[in-house]
Amino acid sequence: MVTIAVAVSLVAVFGVVAFNAFLVQSQFRLERLENELNAQRKEFEQLRLETARLSSPERILSISRSELGMVDPEVVTHLTAPALGKPLDTGPGAAAWAQIKPFLAAEP
């Protein structure tokens, strides 16, 4: 009887110790993950800021003029879109459309 009680006690003590060790490990892991999450969040915000800076009109204008040699257009040509439902591969605008199309998404 005594032997059984001692054995149960030992198992219980071992269980408690093991559980505590598991808790400690989990706590450290949780803290590490939280730190990682914060670091990723911070990196996201910094990349967001960098994207906003890189896409600012001032920067684009400066690079387009000074590095790419672009100039303001003399004439802005307004193209009239063909009426909906008309085939795009025929008619006078077809050649122009073929040039424009590759630069657009799948629409229209």
């Binding site: 906003a52 600012s56 009109p57 003399e74 004439v75 802005v76 307004h78 009239t80």
Partner: protein, 606 residues
């Protein structure tokens, strides 16, 4: 040793032992009972850390989701002076790393003072440094020097800077929309209470209480960053070209009252149109008032037409000068007394004609129309420091000479562009708005309602005014506001600047402006350009071309097509700036009275 001596020694030992036990017992009672709470608190203080978690300030977007202001976590370097053994050495090592653009020697001195405060447990060394700098400081491994994360406000560009405003070191709004929407943007701070071991690691199963911060809401502005950018560029170019003191411009979407651009440019000390900190500048477009001059004549004429007193073709006998009380008002060019239509009076920007129309309308009705068009009251934006404008508190006899032509009263640029937006909007005034929506911490977007509306004049009167204003640009003083492919309507304004804090006007200092809308036959956008103290004084020459450039770009971005079949020059060809008018002759008379416009313009134009 005798038995007696032995007994004495044993007694003494037992007594000592008893005293020791009493002392220990007393100490035990003291620690566990009498001072238990104090010792428990001291223990908690060593283990428990309570940290306020700053809420992330909301982002400010333009209408298309481009960030105009956002917050990014950064590191603040602080020190516990009690743990610093060599303040001078610390300051010497840290100053070059943390100085940034500042003077390292000055920063070293400041740091030395702070690190020498032996009674302090916390001093800032440098707030919100970037990660690279923080890493270099950490590599020094200086005992007592630590880091705490803090959010820093960034403005990726200077677009709409004076409208957006700025925040202070503690991220509190100090100006512009940053302070107007402080409550929404700031969010609610959170709190973290946690038990940590001496190495700073969290103690498992220890005390932990976490109240997450609630991020601030994002603002989605009505500003369009493309239109805003072009407005600022055009304004800066005009300010530089004419050596002006400052400039302001606004573009409004007529149907919604949405402000697509609100630009302010202040001439820098180096002669370029850039102030040292654009975010700290005043938003002059809504904060500062100016005498509008001839742009105000539309109210005089619209009021008279609305009251049925005359129509655009009604003829009036117009001399070239008129004396009211002790003041003689003149037109800019001498001309014989002639019969001019109301349309011609506005097209030629005749002061005498406008005064005669104002007299026909009468003082009470003129004042009523000024107020109905929004003068003397806020625009509804509730922008910090926004001015309601100034209307005469007392009407003198000469007031019926000055007010109809836009002198003796003061308005903001926003109030004046609203007048033209109202005419373009079939006579209905709409409250302007700068914020289109807010997005809360859960990502839920709440659209702001459109501004309230109020009918000011009938649609019939508005239509007649649009026709007259289109003629102003077609053949009158505003031809330089033309945009090829579009019909533009608008009015020039040139007014002398009143002496600040005194009576009368400065010699040679003018406010040149142009306000209008396009396309005249189906108005979509209204805009105003005001140039402060340009070297060429006339609105038609200084402000109208800038209006043209800004409006042309805005129409393109908004997808407003030109008249079918027209190729459109990218920018209306600019006439060279006129040389100053020589003394004498016609123009001397023009300069002698306020509110003059540009009949002499025709001489300089092709």
């Amino acid at each position: 040793m005798s038995p007696r001596q032995r007994r004495r020694r044993v007694s003494a030992f037992l007594l000592s032992l008893a005293l020791a036990f009493v002392a220990i017992g007393w100490r035990l009672i003291d620690v566990q009972a009498l001072e238990a709470e104090r010792y428990a608190e001291l223990g908690r203080d060593q283990r428990v850390r309570q940290v306020e978690l700053a809420a992330e300030r909301g982002t400010i977007f333009d209408r298309d989701g481009n960030e105009l202001a956002l917050s990014v976590p950064q590191q603040t370097v602080w020190a516990d002076p009690r743990l610093v053994s060599d303040p001078a050495g610390y300051a010497r090592q840290l100053a070059p790393l943390l100085a940034g653009a500042d003077d390292p020697a000055a920063l070293e001195q400041v740091m030395l003072e702070r690190l020498s405060k032996r009674d302090a447990a916390f001093v800032y060394l440098r707030r919100k440094v970037d990660d690279g700098v923080a890493a270099k400081v950490a590599a020094l491994s200086l005992p007592g020097v630590s880091f705490v994360p803090e959010s820093k406000r960034h403005y990726p560009s200077d677009l709409a800077a004076s409208t957006i405003g700025l925040v202070g070191t503690d991220n509190e709004g100090l100006g512009g929309l940053e302070v107007q929407y402080e409550e929404a943007l700031a969010g609610t701070p959170g709190e973290l209470v946690v038990e940590r071991d001496p190495q700073g690691r969290e103690i498992p199963q220890g005390l932990r209480r976490y109240l997450p911060p609630e991020p601030g809401s994002d603002l989605v502005l009505t500003i369009d960053h493309g239109i805003q950018f072009e407005a600022e560029q055009a304004l800066a170019a005009a300010v530089n070209e004419y050596g002006a003191r400052a400039g302001r411009a606004i573009v409004i979407e007529i149907a919604t009252g949405d402000i697509l651009a609100m630009a302010n440019v202040t001439a820098g000390t180096d002669g370029r149109a850039t102030g040292p900190d654009p975010h700290a500048d005043k938003n002059r477009a809504v904060v500062d008032v100016y005498e509008p001059g001839s742009t105000n004549k539309v109210i005089t004429v619209a009021g008279a037409i609305e009251e049925g007193l005359l129509d655009p073709d009604t003829g009036l006998t117009v001399p070239d000068h008129l004396t009211i009380a002790d003041h003689t008002f003149t037109d800019h060019d001498p001309h014989p007394t002639e019969t001019w239509s109301v349309r011609k009076i506005l097209v030629e920007s005749s002061n005498i004609g406008a005064i005669l129309i104002g007299r026909t309308l009468g003082r009470e009705r003129l004042e009523e129309y000024l107020r109905r068009f929004g003068f003397g009251s806020g625009s509804g934006l509730k922008f910090p420091g926004e001015s309601a404008g100034l209307l005469p508190t007392e009407w003198w006899e000469t007031s019926m000479g000055t007010v109809p032509i836009g002198n003796g009263l003061a308005v903001t640029a926003l109030q004046m562009v609203d007048v033209y937006a109202t005419i373009a909007n079939n006579g209905v005034w709409r409250e302007p708005r700068l914020v289109m929506a807010t997005v809360d911490a859960d990502g839920e977007r709440r659209d702001a309602p459109l501004g309230e509306t109020q009918r000011v004049i009938s649609s019939g009167t508005a239509e007649q005014m649009r026709s007259i204003l289109a003629d102003v640009v077609k053949e009158g003083t505003g031809t330089q506001a033309n945009i090829p492919g579009y019909t533009v309507a608008g009015k020039t304004g040139t007014a002398r600047k009143p002496i600040e804090g005194g009576r009368g006007y400065y010699e040679g200092k003018y406010m040149a402006s142009f306000a209008g809308f396009a396309p005249a036959e189906n108005p979509q956008l209204a805009a105003i350009v005001v140039i402060d103290e340009p070297s060429g004084m006339y609105g038609g020459i200084v402000a109208a071309p800038t209006f043209s450039r800004i409006m042309q770009n805005a129409l393109r971005i908004e997808g407003v097509a030109p008249r079918p079949g027209e190729g459109v020059p990218a920018q209306a060809p600019r006439k060279p700036a006129p040389t100053p008018v020589p003394n004498g002759g016609d123009d001397e008379a023009a300069l002698s009275s306020p509110g003059q416009d540009v009949a002499v313009l025709s001489r300089w134009l092709a």
